[in-house]
């Protein structure tokens, strides 16, 4: 069974080399190769997940046969393998669901390039998930940023390029802070491998040495990664970047790219700094407050939007706020709730982006709310999918959004009173605000148009693969919402392996 331990390495390498090969392939072949690569990596991750459930423990894999602390390492546990599988599923559905729109949005000769970026993005996400080396993580964070920037600007419109520049500016500040933070940490501990750093940090804390530099580097790494994942005060780049890129890009950016950084932060909390050290530094209170503010202000901005894609994008700010609130609560269970919300938000938000694209197309390419009136009757599958996504975001039972809200509320009850009260109150307010804009949009698309019909109806049978993708997305959401117990057990087991 030892051979199976190579699978994380294979996954990263397959996606990276397929990106290189894609650069010389024609457009059609590039698309097929991309689909095949995502499927293969998904299958490999699933095999690894089953194997790890069998052995019940995580392992580290030496790269190039140099033992620690000199060599580079990969580490895999059930959480990592499951995340890789989940990311593959979401990416596959987003790419296929947006492929028709991609042909319309992107210039003919650039379409092959899009799949290079997708492959690179996948490989960097996998590396962020699996790596056990902090500096490797930094390098792949940068690759991820560059690929994401390409995905935003591939449409080549003025809006898209401006959004990409703004994204790069904030993102580079974030990675600069991350780099500085890990350099200080290397300076304090003398190691770059996560497990070695953790041992040394424990020694430093026990001897009460270098407390201020340690705090500074925790702050720099947390703030750096939260800038990159668009936590509330740093979210200015997000709405344009998600709103003006082609639909696959928005789905992938909102559901995978920002989540990869959050997953890296959770990994840093558990495996580099150590959970208790991180908890005792007051940075979690800052993340908690920012998260709460994001939950309210993200929703308030979303209510004001007249453009459906920008509304969905602003709702991401609120959902990222939820995740950071969970991290800020500082209990194991709350972080498990955050990880569950990563899954549920990824599944729901990509569904919403792809469904809203279908609705816009059925309304004469317009994205304005007024034109969307009655769109659900013109494109029935997209309408149903948008309704499912909205219900999930609001937190109606049967859908994943409800489960993550429930988990957040449960974990709020386990913490001290000064945090429990604001968490529960803001959770309530945010749910109401979510309901305001998502229900407003859903009611609008299900309002029949009076008088003459302005736009033709898109028949269900003509939708082809797009309709299939939406149905699979709806099923995925229902699965996450109804079979949540095994998933939370899996997350808790995976977090246990982190320690």
């Amino acid at each position: 069974m030892d051979f199976l331990k190579n699978l994380p390495f294979f996954s990263i390498m397959i996606s990276m080399f397929s990106a290189i090969i894609t650069s010389i392939l024609p457009k059609k072949a590039a698309k097929w190769l991309n689909t095949v690569v995502i499927v293969v990596i998904g299958i490999l991750s699933a095999i690894l997940l089953v194997y790890l459930f069998g052995t019940g423990e995580s392992y580290t894999f030496m790269m190039g046969h140099f033992p620690a602390p000199w060599g580079n390492e990969i580490r895999a546990g059930v959480l990592e393998a499951g995340m890789a599988l989940f990311f593959c599923i979401i990416m596959l559905l987003s790419v296929i669901g947006g492929s028709k729109k991609l042909e319309a949005d992107v210039a003919e000769e650039k379409q092959g390039l899009y799949f290079i970026l997708m492959d690179l993005l996948l490989s960097s996400l996998l590396a962020l998930i699996y790596t056990n080396d902090l500096f490797t993580a930094y390098v792949f964070v940068e690759i991820n940023t560059i690929a994401a920037c390409g995905l935003i600007m591939i449409r080549q419109t003025g809006h898209a390029i401006e959004a990409a520049v703004r994204y790069m500016i904030m993102s580079l500040l974030g990675s600069g802070l991350l780099l500085l933070g890990l350099c200080v940490l290397y300076d304090l501990t003398g190691h770059l491998l996560m497990s070695n750093i953790k041992e040394q940090v424990a020694v430093l804390v026990a001897n009460n040495q270098y407390q201020i530099p340690l705090l500074c580097c925790i702050v720099m790494m947390s703030i750096g990664l939260s800038i990159k994942s668009a936590l509330f005060p740093f979210h200015a780049w997000l709405p344009n970047a998600y709103g003006y890129s082609t639909v696959s890009s928005s789905a992938v950016l909102s559901s995978l790219v920002s989540k990869g950084y959050i997953f890296l932060l959770i990994k840093i909390i558990y495996r580099v700094i150590g959970f208790d050290v991180f908890k005792n530094s007051r940075i979690i209170d800052i993340l908690f407050v920012f998260g709460l503010m994001g939950m309210i202000f993200g929703s308030l901005s979303a209510i004001r939007q007249k453009d459906v894609k920008r509304m969905v994008a602003f709702s991401s700010v609120a959902q990222i706020g939820y995740i950071y609130m969970g991290i800020g609560m500082g209990t194991n269970f709350a972080i498990a709730a955050s990880v569950f919300h990563i899954l549920s938000h990824a599944a729901t938000k990509s569904l919403l982006f792809i469904a809203s694209e279908g609705l816009c197309d059925a309304s004469g390419e317009s994205r304005r709310m007024e034109d969307l009136t009655g769109a659900a009757y013109r494109n029935k599958i997209a309408g149903a999918a948008f309704l499912v996504g909205s219900l999930s975001m609001v937190g109606v039972p049967l859908f994943p959004g409800f489960i993550s809200k429930l988990l957040f509320a449960q974990s709020a009850l386990q913490i001290e009173f000064t945090k429990m009260l604001p968490a529960l109150i803001v959770l309530g307010i945010s749910t109401i605000l979510n309901a305001v804009y998502f229900m407003k949009a859903s009611i609008r698309i299900y309002t029949p148009v009076e008088g003459e019909k302005r736009f033709p109806v898109v028949p269900v049978k003509k939708q082809g693969i797009y309709g299939v993708v939406l149905v699979v997305f709806i099923l995925l959401n229902l699965y996450l919402g109804t079979f949540s117990q095994p998933i939370t057990d899996w997350i808790l087991q995976g977090l246990g392996m982190f320690a």
Binding site: I146, I161, M168, G176
Partner: protein, 124 residues
């Protein structure tokens, strides 16, 4: 205060980092933003190089058969600097390419003005 004087290299690196970050965020001109980005990255490399240097020791390349660890500085930070330079070169190139695109479209380097014009386009 004493520590600050002894580790003046690191202190300078931190000041440079702040200057670079402020340039990156506050300047309207895209080229100046990119210069700020490069100052910020270089500050980190200065910090790393400063951390790896040990006074009185040589470059970690074995010449004349001297193999003692005592003779050389720590090579790992230098390796990290090299990796970092590669990353920052590619990122700067990407930013410059985006700047060229924007300049060809709008004939200005002022990011705020470009945003204003985009808003107007949308309003029409």
């Amino acid at each position: 205060m004493g520590n600050l004087l002894v580790n003046y290299g690191e202190a300078v690196a931190m000041i440079l980092f702040a200057i670079g970050a402020a340039n990156l965020l506050l300047h309207k001109n895209l080229i100046k933003k990119i210069i700020g980005l490069n100052i910020m990255d270089c500050a980190v490399y200065l910090f790393l190089a400063e951390k790896g240097y040990i006074t009185g020791r040589g470059v970690p390349i074995v010449v004349d058969g001297v193999q003692s660890v005592e003779a050389y500085i720590n090579p790992i930070p230098s390796g990290l600097v090299l990796t970092g330079i590669v990353v920052s070169v590619s990122v700067s190139a990407l930013m410059l390419a985006l700047t060229v695109r924007l300049y060809k479209k709008y004939h200005t380097l002022d990011l705020d003005e470009i945003s204003m014009r985009l808003k107007k386009e949308e309003g029409m």
